[in-house]
Assembly symmetry: C3
Homo-oligomer: 257 residues x 3
């Protein structure tokens, strides 16, 4: 599902992508990630390999202190237990109050009506970015007008799949990097959401930040896939590639538009 | 402890094992795994490398929707917290109602009386398969007659160790694949349980499904151990081996009773 | 922050370090680790690679049975949720009653007042060892006299960073092994705490045990970094190096004093 069929997509240059990556590496932003138990360790390692710093507590007594002091907040709805349901609104409020960007990843809302209803409430809090796949988007916002209204109000959508599409009230981007082997590793999408949160923390143009973050993560994934014997070796290779990623790597591989 | 000393064991052919593996790869069954926090990520990656799809939520509000829509359910009792204790009966009921196989792995029942009592209640729900080691079996069912009664009623036992024994009211299997290095990696047993659940979803002969699933996982482990410098590199190698496993690998390595 | 500026530090020989490592490998102590969700899997794998056995349940109904039967207890305060807050005092009491050493790792107390207050209560239970970095130490014990009083009473402090300092009422140790790449992998510090707990279980001289445990883990990290292309491959390499670590490795790399 394309949210805005008519919109033309913007080109993205390797220089833009590398410039933002370098800003992440220099600022070492802290990303507070409320994410599912399956994804926590890999997400933390992706953030560290990128040059960011993860924090991950979900305890309601302290999540506001952690989220309010972080440079960005990721809210991922996988394994949505009681502790996380209690923590998420507190964390979003703290991040909002501190003026930090909020990225929401409504994992599997197409498989659970309870989760879908919860995710819709979060959309009412106007996150800066929503990352999801086409099936999740259809479940979350069956009416096209509702998605358009959110985009008008400033939320950016990053719709991921074989192609990734960034939709915003300004520029849109179409991105074609990545490798199918990435989908054979759990939580690659979730960890990619944390990369987007890190990029949002260093760039006010949210659509540009999302496009650059997606490109960095997917190019690292491509490099890793080219060096891997399967999904097991993809994990260390992806983290190494992210850690070592150069402007030449990006220049050689970036596929947009 | 052998459950049925008198029973002769059945041979298993490499062709049978590979045929079932290919059926898993073609059907890409979804396995809902309620498993311990330590095992979640590795279990998800094992399922993906095998060709199955994991889901893992433990939230009581949505676990029935996830388990009822899955092709098989794994219930692993490691780190048995409140959330999981509440979720497990709901998930089993949903899987039963949908006619899906249920696999129970009563991890460490020999170390905690509370957990052992809880596991005995689950046996009353007549799971399709129970995977455990001899110490756990002795703790769970100290009376031989109780184990025999469960087997008579249709539950299959997969008793794992240096040798693996599949015991059923039909055929039994004795399997000798695997490598000691696998026990130096956390959650290999737990992840192996998820493989059994995936195989149960594509084959009605539960004992045959269990025997093939154990063989696939342990042969992948053997190949990985032969390529590893220790338990760290065993993990990516095992996932790569599982992903790439061929009929020739199985033919060259399968060791049965 | 150095706790005892005036104290001279003790030399540590490669033979002492290897002797204690071999005692861990021969005894295969069980370490019950109440640790954060992000660190659980890596911590379990570090313990297994070392030659110890992990258990990790946090359920209040059974944590006492697990902790009381273990050879050492690790309490790590990362992701401090309700279940863990309830479990920790029960586990410490059970370990104390059984005469087992208790190691506390007050992760991120400098980022959360609630967590800092909780950690101070734990100090009142007089753990055998506290592992933390200088920032956490300053937050936890802003008054130097309070730290000195705890050390007088028998608690050992392992203050980790580019240099590691072990402070006790007896000998002190200054250790200089490790590699900066280790800080780009999540939970290396947390997993290192579990190694200290394993060493405490086989050696009554707590400061010596801590110094040897830190050296073993950091030398394995150095070897891994020398073989890694980044933080991704560091993980399997570290586990392999820990599993294979010899007296020659330690002799060639140990840096103390």
């Amino acid at each position: 599902m394309s949210l805005s069929v008519a919109a033309s997509t913007q080109a993205l240059s390797a220089e833009q992508v590398f410039t933002l990556l370098e800003r992440v590496r220099q600022k070492t932003p802290r990303v507070h990630a409320i994410t599912n138990a399956v994804a926590q360790s890999f997400t933390a390692n992706v953030l560290l390999a990128l040059g960011a710093v993860p924090s991950m507590t979900i305890a309601r007594e302290e999540v506001a202190a952690f989220a309010g002091g972080a440079d960005a907040l990721l809210v991922n709805l996988g394994t949505l237990d009681e502790e996380r349901r209690a923590a998420i609104p507190l964390a979003i409020e703290a991040a909002r109050t501190a003026g930090r960007p909020v990225c929401v990843d409504p994992v599997f809302v197409n498989r659970s009506p309870v989760r879908c209803a919860y995710a819709r409430e979060l959309l009412g809090l106007k996150p800066d970015l929503v990352r999801l796949n086409p099936e999740e988007l259809t479940a979350l916002l069956p009416e096209r007008a509702d998605a358009d209204a959110l985009i008008e109000a400033g939320t950016v959508f990053a719709v991921t799949g074989p192609e990734d599409r960034v939709e915003s009230c300004g520029e849109d981007f179409l991105l074609r990097n990545g490798d199918p082997l990435m989908s054979r590793v759990t939580a690659t999408g979730c960890a990619g959401g944390a990369v987007l949160a890190a990029f949002l923390s260093i760039e006010k143009d949210r659509a540009l930040a999302a496009a650059c973050g997606l490109s960095v993560f997917n190019i690292a994934g491509e490099i890793a896939a080219s060096r891997s014997g399967g999904p097991g070796s993809l994990v260390p290779e992806l983290l190494d590639a992210l850690y070592c990623l150069t402007d030449r790597d990006i220049g050689a591989r970036l596929k947009t538009g």
